[in-house]
């Protein structure tokens, strides 16, 4: 009886280690996709440069991301978050190799992930507000919707928002995974 119990305990420990390893591999996979999403957003927004084919002496008809400080913040936030994700890839690979993840390391991971998610969300939602204004304008404040003139600039900025929001969802999944790993340890 006792040997059977010992063997059963050994088998359950092996499956537990397998589940931990599976979670670490899923973590790595999510990180890679999040890197692609945020880096794509930063590059898509950073390379916007549209010049309209007519000009006057006083007004420049050129739109870049750096003309709006919110978009500059968006590019910087996405760049910082991509850099953090690349650095944490190493940490994720370390978790895969060591099946017994350390609690302190997981806690630091959760903290930085939540902080980076907050930064990403701030950049993405601020840009979303500006993009909405650019599409629709506002009658009360007399702000003209510029998308009617700067068409490709508008398309590019709207598209780069999508990658950023995908990154946010993946960050929430990453925090869930890290919390599960912490509670199972």
């Amino acid at each position: 009886m006792k040997a059977g119990a010992v063997e059963l305990g050994h088998a359950s420990k092996v499956t537990q280690r397998g589940v931990n390893r599976g979670m670490s591999i899923l973590d790595l996979f999510l990180r890679i996709i999040a890197i692609i999403a945020t880096l794509g957003s930063a590059i898509a927004m950073g390379t916007t440069n549209e010049t309209l084919p007519f000009f006057t002496q006083f007004v420049r008809f050129r739109a870049k991301y750096s003309d709006l400080p919110t978009f500059t913040f968006f590019v910087v936030a996405n760049a910082i978050v991509s850099a953090y994700l690349v650095l944490s890839l190493g940490m994720s690979i370390f978790h895969i190799m060591r099946s017994r993840a350390q609690a302190r390391l997981l806690m630091y991971t959760i903290f930085w992930e939540v902080a980076m998610m907050a930064l990403l969300t701030a950049g993405a939602s601020a840009s979303a507000a500006i993009v909405y204004l650019a599409h629709k304008g506002n009658t009360k404040t007399n702000w003209f919707p510029i998308c009617q003139q700067y068409d490709s600039f508008c398309h590019r900025t709207s598209g780069s928002l999508v990658g950023s929001f995908i990154g946010i969802i993946f960050f929430i999944l990453l925090v869930l995974l890290s919390a599960l790993a912490l509670s199972r340890r």
Binding site: A3, T70, A115, T121, A124, A129, I130, L133, L182, S183
Partner: protein, 210 residues
């Protein structure tokens, strides 16, 4: 093995049987004594963290509610008017501000609903499932609140400074009170978002098993 007893020492007896595949061939009985940690001391620091978590939730509730009401009660009418330009500003003129009010209202509602869960975690410090649920919902609320605060902050920045490329005028020079109230609401919302981040850290701290 009885760890709930009042005595602080337990004796563990492991005896070797014939079918044991263990490596040791030495003595048949291994007696080990350990000083078992008393149950209430082990849950002590967790209980402290849970109490602090509850207090932080109350502070976050105050911050989010203040942000929502400050933004929701904005309504400024300038004493002059023309046929074409309306000199009235309230929060629902800008969709970003409407989303701000909704997001902060949802955050306040969530905090009120999560207070009982927090009390349960104080009373029973070793509950894992409730803490995990609170952690995930707190993370989602961080994203929600930060999104609302950042969108409103972008609009407020535009209202203060305007923009030359897009020819958007800075309206704060006319609507002074409106601008001040809205800026105060944005600050309160950012404070609520930071409190949510701390709540996540505390939940993660108490999920640790030793």
């Amino acid at each position: 093995m009885d760890s709930k007893s009042k005595s602080h020492e337990t004796a563990i007896n492991i005896s070797e049987t014939e079918s044991n595949k263990g490596k040791s061939t030495a003595a048949a009985t291994i007696v080990a004594t350990t000083k078992a940690i008393p149950h209430n001391q082990k849950g002590g620091w967790r209980r402290g963290v849970a109490i602090f978590d509850f207090i932080l939730r109350l502070c976050g509730l105050v911050a989010a509610l203040a942000a929502a009401t400050t933004m929701g009660t904005t309504d400024e009418t300038l004493p002059l008017f023309t046929q074409f330009f309306q000199f009235e500003a309230s929060y629902d003129d800008l969709p970003a501000f409407s989303y701000f009010v909704v997001a902060n209202a949802i955050a306040s509602g969530y905090l009120v609903l999560s207070l009982p869960f927090s009390i349960v975690c104080i009373v029973r410090p070793h509950l894992v499932g409730a803490r995990l649920v609170l952690l995930i919902l707190d993370t989602v609320m961080v994203a929600f609140t930060t999104a609302g605060a950042a969108a409103a902050a972008a609009i407020v920045y535009l209202a203060h400074n305007g923009n030359s490329t897009t020819q958007w005028q800075a309206i704060c020079q006319q609507f002074g009170d409106f601008c001040q109230q809205v800026s105060g609401a944005v600050v309160a919302s950012f404070i609520a978002a930071v409190i949510f981040i701390f709540l996540v850290i505390f939940s993660a701290l108490s999920l640790r098993r030793h």
